[in-house]
Symmetry: none
Subunit: 249 residues, 2 copies
């Protein structure tokens, strides 16, 4: 179940971002997943029309974004700091994948903690000094030979996993779309009609209808027709039967 | 462990994309996750320098991208077609979340099937006619009050989930029970036959066939007939047509 108090405790921190467009796209990305706190450490250009354009009106996220001179300031109050990074020699931080990181972050936020996800510069990522502010590193499992996710897309992946973490445990229990599903007595009526119609149009030509009927039954059971679809199917069968009767009249 | 033969069986299909930059970003997104097949249906501009710039050199993806006039052409050979879409009134496709969809797609690809993920236009998404080519809908669980993911970011989320599915351990890759599943060109032949047969037996009685045909299409897409089932259905249609012809003779 999504805890409405947990989301505001999670902040996304962008460090030394070069392209204002990425700030806008990141704002939109976190907003679609239910987050609103964006912290910017020494952005190259902000505010900027390109950021506004790519935020696609994500209500309020850019207006409320805080700008900081130092990463430490952006992390004020946080008890869990996770830095997104490619694998790096000489860094001894524990490494989490996005799913595990999101679960840990959501759990911490649900328990009242402040949590930060930190994203480095587009070209160089987080440097070692910046990673030293983090409790763990999060590596998005990209392929070895081409690992470079766009910054805003890395933000999207993490925000998506946070959203999934927030929904875990929420029963899916979606209302059935469309018309009411056909119940079994209606399905049996349909199968009986199908069987009669195939007989009437002499589909089987003296062979046993059993195998074919069983196959058709499986097919339509699998499709789980709703009541309106079943009416259409009945209509088609009735029409084929009528054509046959007319041909004999 | 990732099955190296499964990735090439998964294609990402972008339909009526307005912004070439999104094509480039999508190319980069899938490439980071180990995929390379991009199919474009009536892109507004392609090739385009903006697409090249945002692909960030994703080796070969844009060069190898195929362009199609019709969605059906882009889906040729596919036995599983998943359409990304917001929830929609009146659409009765089964709805999967990205994780469940990715697992199903990866399993199908590992079992040798061709799989397509279909993404609609930036403003309007997939229309109902386009969704009628899909076996199921995938909904990214964005928040209710601001649901609009950028196209390339939706591609990134799905490609990321596919990558995660590929890393979850080799699926058991159970052979599909029964006959090989029908591929999309065979489904189109069936729909054409169905349409002709309904016309021949005068099912529509002057009403427009469009709504009924769309409903039947959804029903049979959902059922995912195998090749033998499709032969039976063709047989029934042919028999109904024969009866009609005989009645006129």
């Amino acid at each position: 179940m999504s805890d409405p108090n947990a989301s505001p405790r999670i902040r996304h921190v962008l460090v030394r971002t070069s392209h204002p467009g990425n700030i806008g796209s990141a704002a939109r990305a976190i907003r679609t997943m239910g987050f609103a706190r964006l912290n910017l450490v020494r952005p190259h250009r902000f505010p900027d029309p390109e950021a506004d354009a790519l935020a696609a009106g994500a209500p309020g996220v850019l207006d409320a974004a805080q700008v900081h001179a130092q990463l430490a300031d952006a992390l004020s109050g946080c008890t869990l700091v996770l830095g997104l990074s490619a694998r790096r020699r000489g860094v001894t931080l524990p490494e989490l994948d996005p799913r595990a990181a999101a679960r840990q972050a959501w759990q911490a936020a649900s328990a009242g903690q402040q949590v930060a996800l930190v994203f480095g510069n587009e070209q160089s990522g987080l440097d070692n000094a910046e990673l030293a502010h983090c409790h763990a590193m999060v590596r998005i499992p990209s392929v070895e030979d081409y690992g470079s996710l766009n910054l805003a897309q890395a933000v999207q992946v993490m925000a998506y996993e946070l959203r999934q973490a927030s929904l875990e445990g929420t029963p899916q229990a979606l209302p059935e779309p469309g018309d009411p599903p056909a119940e079994m007595a209606q399905m049996e009526q349909f199968f009986a009609h199908l069987s009669q119609a195939l007989h009437d149009i002499d589909f089987h030509k003296g062979r046993s209808p059993r195998t074919i009927e069983l196959r058709l039954r499986k097919l339509f059971m699998r499709a789980r027709p709703d009541q309106r679809e079943l009416r259409i199917l009945h209509g088609i069968l009735a029409e084929a039967q009528r054509v046959k009767r007319d041909s004999q009249a």
